[in-house]
């Protein structure tokens, strides 16, 4: 009995310490637990894959900042690698808010060295920040160059070859919004509902549950949920023989699994301790 009373009064810092250890050990000594692919991830992967050779571009939007980078940056890198390897044109858009553009730049820095043949302006374009949020999404339905004028580097968009072929949603095969906020809903409302452009989403695990209804209605083509979603996409491009770089999400999955086992254990233990001590008091 005293054991259970002690459990209920345990200093939370011990839990933090154990979680830290349970994360560090599998990172140092990985065992490579299997990462199984779920239908929402496969659906997004297949949709992007089928754009190869159609001339339609992928618009990848990095609507996240450093606070959600561990989950969303691996997704950005994996999707970019997929598109670059399959020669699918890419509009990399640095997000609806000003703080996000650095994430897009980071994703490019991590992926470009593996694809030295790519030509800027022909194979991909990097769009920076312009204010307006929903107005930017609506504006791109008319003209991307009219909405942005210049790319991230200051080049006039209408001088770039890719922009001459793709200047609005008609030739955008899919907009993939990687988001740590509610921006996928904004893309659905103003992009999908207004212009019919297909939307894919990569989201933090916190937000994943709220987006399943949109997946069920077909408003999203597919969804990557949290680190697990990123790891699944990494595995799919690895199977396709695409250069993967460092598989950051996959490497983290061992630690993720072990922490979950530990948390399940302490939740059960905590509840048993609570019930037993409560019964004793009665």
């Amino acid at each position: 009995m005293r054991f259970f009373e002690k459990i209920l009064k345990i200093d939370r810092r011990w839990i933090f310490l154990i979680v830290g250890i349970v994360v560090i050990i599998p990172l140092i000594f990985p065992i490579g637990m299997p990462v199984l692919t779920t239908p929402p991830v496969r659906s997004l992967y297949n949709y992007v894959d089928k754009l190869q050779g159609t001339g339609k571009a992928v618009m990848l939007v990095t609507d996240f900042d450093p606070s959600t980078m561990p989950e969303l940056l691996p997704m950005a890198c994996a999707i970019l690698r997929h598109c670059f390897a399959k020669k699918i044109p890419v509009y990399l858009y640095g997000g609806l808010y000003s703080a996000y553009v650095g994430m897009a730049e980071m994703a490019l820095e991590k992926t470009l060295p593996d694809f030295p043949d790519l030509q800027y302006g022909k194979d991909y374009i990097f769009l920076g920040y312009v204010p307006g949020v929903s107005l930017v999404i609506l504006g791109m339905g008319g003209s991307i160059s009219g909405t942005f004028n210049t790319d991230y580097y200051g080049n006039k968009l209408d001088t770039l070859p890719l922009n001459k072929m793709v200047d609005n949603y008609k030739n955008i095969g899919i907009v993939i919004d990687l988001s740590g906020s509610a921006s996928p809903e904004t893309w659905v409302i103003y992009g999908y509902q207004r212009f019919g452009v297909r939307i894919g989403v990569g989201t933090t695990a916190v937000s994943a549950a709220q987006y399943y209804p949109m997946l069920q209605t077909g408003q999203f083509v597919g969804m990557l949920g949290g680190l697990k979603g990123a790891a699944e996409y990494e595995q799919l491009i690895k199977k396709a023989g695409i250069p993967t770089g460092r598989l950051e999400a996959t490497i983290g999955m061992d630690a993720q699994s072990f922490v979950h086992i530990f948390l399940i254990f302490i939740i059960i233990l905590g509840n048993i301790a609570f019930l037993i001590t409560k019964k004793r008091k009665v």
Binding site: I24, L27, S98, A99, Y190, Q193, V206, P213, Q216, T217
Partner: protein, 212 residues
């Protein structure tokens, strides 16, 4: 072990440790990192907005442009400037003008599309059709979804006392809500652990070079 020689990696690593030191207890290192983060965040956003918004969208067209239409830009500038009337006790009522325009335009844009995207499409998604029952799994899931939507909506219907049939349906709704909370909580735990894993990977890979 291959410790980084990049000064920025060291700074990032030390700031990460400063922030995590809060898990033990509040301390000056944590306070320093917290204040630094807020200061840099505000400064970064201000500079970015200035150079990506004010200069290219207002200053350059107005000062360096040649179109006579450029003078129309003065109207939104003046309306926007009224936001600063908040600092005047006598004239702070003027702030209502830009806020009214902002809310009016925003609502006009959002309401019809919100209804279409977030309500009508979702209602459509709950409609049971014959084709759903071609597959047992899809059919069964559709019925579970249908019952869940109805029961949850009944739970949030407060104009009738939750007794009898309404009460029982609302009780079913509570089960659905609890399951949704559980799923959401599980995902939240996963997200927080992912962030910790990301930082640990940075410390062990980028900083200390212990892992590949």
């Amino acid at each position: 072990m291959n410790i980084s020689t990049d000064i920025w990696v060291w700074i990032a690593a030390l700031l990460t440790l400063f922030i995590y030191s809060f898990l033990y207890k509040d301390n000056p290192f944590y306070k320093f990192a917290e204040h630094l983060f807020i200061g840099i965040g505000v400064g970064y956003t201000t500079v970015l907005l200035w150079f990506n918004s004010v200069i290219p969208k207002l200053w350059n067209p107005l000062v360096h442009g040649t179109s006579p239409m450029r003078f129309f830009l003065i109207i939104p500038i003046l309306i926007g400037a009224l936001m600063f009337s908040i600092f005047s006790k006598k004239n702070n009522w003027l702030i209502r003008i830009p806020i009214a325009i902002y809310i009016g335009a925003g609502s006009g844009l959002a309401i019809p599309l919100d209804f279409e995207g977030l309500i009508f499409e979702q209602v459509k998604g709950t409609i049971l059709t014959k084709s759903m029952f071609n597959s047992f799994i899809v059919g069964f899931s559709s019925i579970v979804l249908f019952i869940g939507v109805i029961a949850t909506l009944v739970y949030f219907y407060f104009s009738k006392e939750h007794k009898g049939f309404v009460g029982k349906t609302a009780r079913v709704g509570i089960f659905y809500i609890m399951i949704a909370f559980g799923a959401s909580f599980g995902y939240t735990v996963m997200a927080r652990v992912s962030l910790l894993i990301g930082r640990m990977q940075f410390l062990l890979h980028n900083w200390l070079g212990i892992i590949k």
